[in-house]
């Protein structure tokens, strides 16, 4: 039991304190005991302030309202029929996940990225595999492999200004693989399947710039004097210290901001994202806009999770294709618009298990698996 931490919670330090996520079960029980003790000592009866009956009536009303809204969507013509099916499927598949509960493993996803097949082109133009065998070459480039992570030597001081042009490394991650890079300035970058990251071994003193194709999650170390910029498909993502995910696989570049603040800049237009917001750039009319979104959909991959929140089968297939190195053929285009909700850890099942769970949750699709080709059929 970590008492220092717990005492901060007990004392009621709400702003400095982290969320209770970080407390273990024992610590939490203690906090619960303390909270109850506190209430009885001060003779505060919670019922006085928060009467149960009124609360219950409110819950009934809210729940009915919610169910009514969901029913409305179902009753709206043929096109929405898919939505309705999706809602049902989402529920069913949800229960499948709940029932196939994973074994108790609070030690969380220790999903070491698999890096066999990841290629790195060094500043001098030489291409090497990310493999312990290449350790001497990597070392001469100021880097080392630590499990699935490529770690650069921490910079001790800012480089001198007016150094020559910075030459670039290119990290290429094939389908089915993932890797993580820790740069000299303390920034960590998770690079997802089918993506390419171009970055210098050393950033210049005044600016940190790199280029992304595909998808990556960034945890940028804070330094206001040294802005961090990600270039992706004509969009510049300007960063202070922050954590966010960029996905440029679809028609629009999606930037999902978890913490901090980033500015999106495309030509003369710009948008500032707050945590919880998703920035969209591109698409048919080249728009630049933002919206609120379930960020877990965008960041789950980095934690070794497969997570979809009512996403279409087309979206799900396109992500699975990259992350599992597969190819999906849809025999019936309309199947693409079925919606599913999935929440599982990559550790707990291979692709067959994922597909099987989708199949079990509906009577409409069937998957034929041949090697890495998957045919989606109407059942």
């Amino acid at each position: 039991m970590n008492w220092e931490k717990l005492l901060r919670h007990l004392e009621g330090d709400k702003d400095g304190g982290q969320a209770d996520e970080e407390l273990n079960q024992e610590e939490l029980e203690m906090l619960l005991l303390a909270e109850e003790t506190n209430m009885s000592l001060n003779r505060t009866d919670p019922e006085m302030k928060f009467p149960v009956q009124a609360g219950w009536e409110e819950l009934e009303a809210r729940y009915k309202e919610k169910s009514r809204k969901e029913n409305l969507t179902i009753g709206r013509g043929r096109r929405n029929w898919f939505m309705a099916a999706a809602a049902v499927l989402a529920c069913v598949i949800g229960s499948v996940w709940w029932l196939s509960i994973r074994p108790e493993d609070p030690s969380k996803n220790a999903s070491a990225p698999t890096i066999a097949g990841v290629k790195l082109t060094l500043e001098n133009g030489k291409t090497v595999a990310l493999d312990q065998k290449e350790a001497p070459v990597l070392k001469s480039a100021g880097a080392a492999l630590n499990g699935g992570t490529l770690v650069y030597k921490k910079e001790k001081a800012l480089p001198k200004e007016n150094e020559g042009p910075v030459s670039m490394n290119i990290l290429e991650v094939p389908y089915g693989k993932q890797t993580k890079v820790e740069l000299g300035d303390g920034t960590a970058i998770w690079v997802n399947s089918g993506s390419k990251l171009t970055y210098p071994s050393h950033f210049s003193a005044s600016k940190r710039e790199l280029t992304l194709e595909g998808e990556a999650f960034f945890e940028v170390s804070h330094n206001a004097q040294r802005p961090f910029v990600v270039h992706v498909k004509g969009l510049n993502v300007q960063v202070l210290g922050t954590a966010f995910n960029i996905n440029s696989f679809g028609p629009a570049v999606q930037t999902a901001l978890v913490r901090g603040k980033v500015g999106l800049e495309a030509g003369s237009r710009s948008v500032i994202l707050a945590p919880g917001e998703l920035g969209l750039y591109g698409g048919p009319n080249g728009m630049l806009q933002k919206t609120e979104a379930d960020l877990k959909t965008y960041t789950a991959w980095k934690d070794g999770e497969v997570y979809f929140n009512n996403n279409s089968l087309a979206e799900i297939a396109s992500r699975l294709e990259r992350e599992y190195d597969l190819h999906f053929d849809f025999q019936d285009e309309s199947l693409k618009s079925l919606h599913f909700t999935i929440d599982m850890s990559k550790n707990e099942g291979d692709i067959q298990k994922i597909l099987n769970n989708i199949r079990l949750s509906t009577n409409q699709v069937n998957f034929l698996i041949k090697g890495n080709r998957i045919t989606v059929q109407r059942r």
Binding site: L23, L31, E36, L59, Y63, I101
Partner: protein, 182 residues
């Protein structure tokens, strides 16, 4: 509306307590109620698919506190943490032994008795913190001792409290059952 009737006993048992937990953090009654209402709506969506054993209370407590803390930090997304719900094995379908009302009453009855058994100085510090709501630094200044000493006393108080609660609750429950027989 079968789900509603399933969740009703849990709601009636814990609603007020959870609201106060949220209120402690967000310091606004309406927001606190809203957080707890949303939490139960979230549980309602999942009730059909859950059938495990464990303490609902400890899951709910954590979920509501976290939701309140993140509300306070102005982050809009509230995550009730599905994993945790599974991990703590919250049982939405029936009330677990730990959550029984008798426990609450028993706790109240014996709390003062336990506190009475603490060494005098420790009791004083514990009450200054819990009843008067003083910060650790304030207590240290008032009693002219170091903050670390205060923290140690608080820590020992809670450990003592937990140990005593566990054994006493067992006895009190036995007495309840015994009275119930006659």
């Amino acid at each position: 509306m079968a789900e509603l009737s399933k969740i009703e006993p849990l709601f009636r048992e814990h609603y007020s307590f959870l609201c106060s937990v949220a209120y402690e953090v967000v310091e606004d009654e309406e927001t606190a109620k809203d957080i707890v209402q949303n939490f139960f709506l979230y549980c309602l969506d999942r009730i059909a698919s859950l059938d495990i054993h464990g303490s609902f209370k400890s899951y709910a407590f954590r979920a509501v506190r976290n939701a309140s803390l993140s509300y306070r930090k102005k982050s809009k997304k509230v995550d009730y943490n599905d994993d945790l719900l599974k991990q703590t094995g919250a049982n939405l379908a029936c009330i677990a032994e730990d959550d029984r009302e008798e426990n609450e009453i028993a706790r109240d009855l014996i709390l003062w008795q336990i506190i009475g058994q603490m060494p005098e100085k420790r009791r004083h510090i514990f009450l200054l913190s819990n009843k008067e709501g003083l910060k650790y630094t304030e207590i240290a200044a008032q009693l002219d001792i170091s903050v670390n000493t205060v923290k140690t006393h608080i820590k020992l108080s809670y450990e003592f409290l937990r140990r005593e609660c566990r054994s006493l609750i067992r006895i009190v429950i036995l007495i309840y059952m015994w009275i119930g027989l006659y």
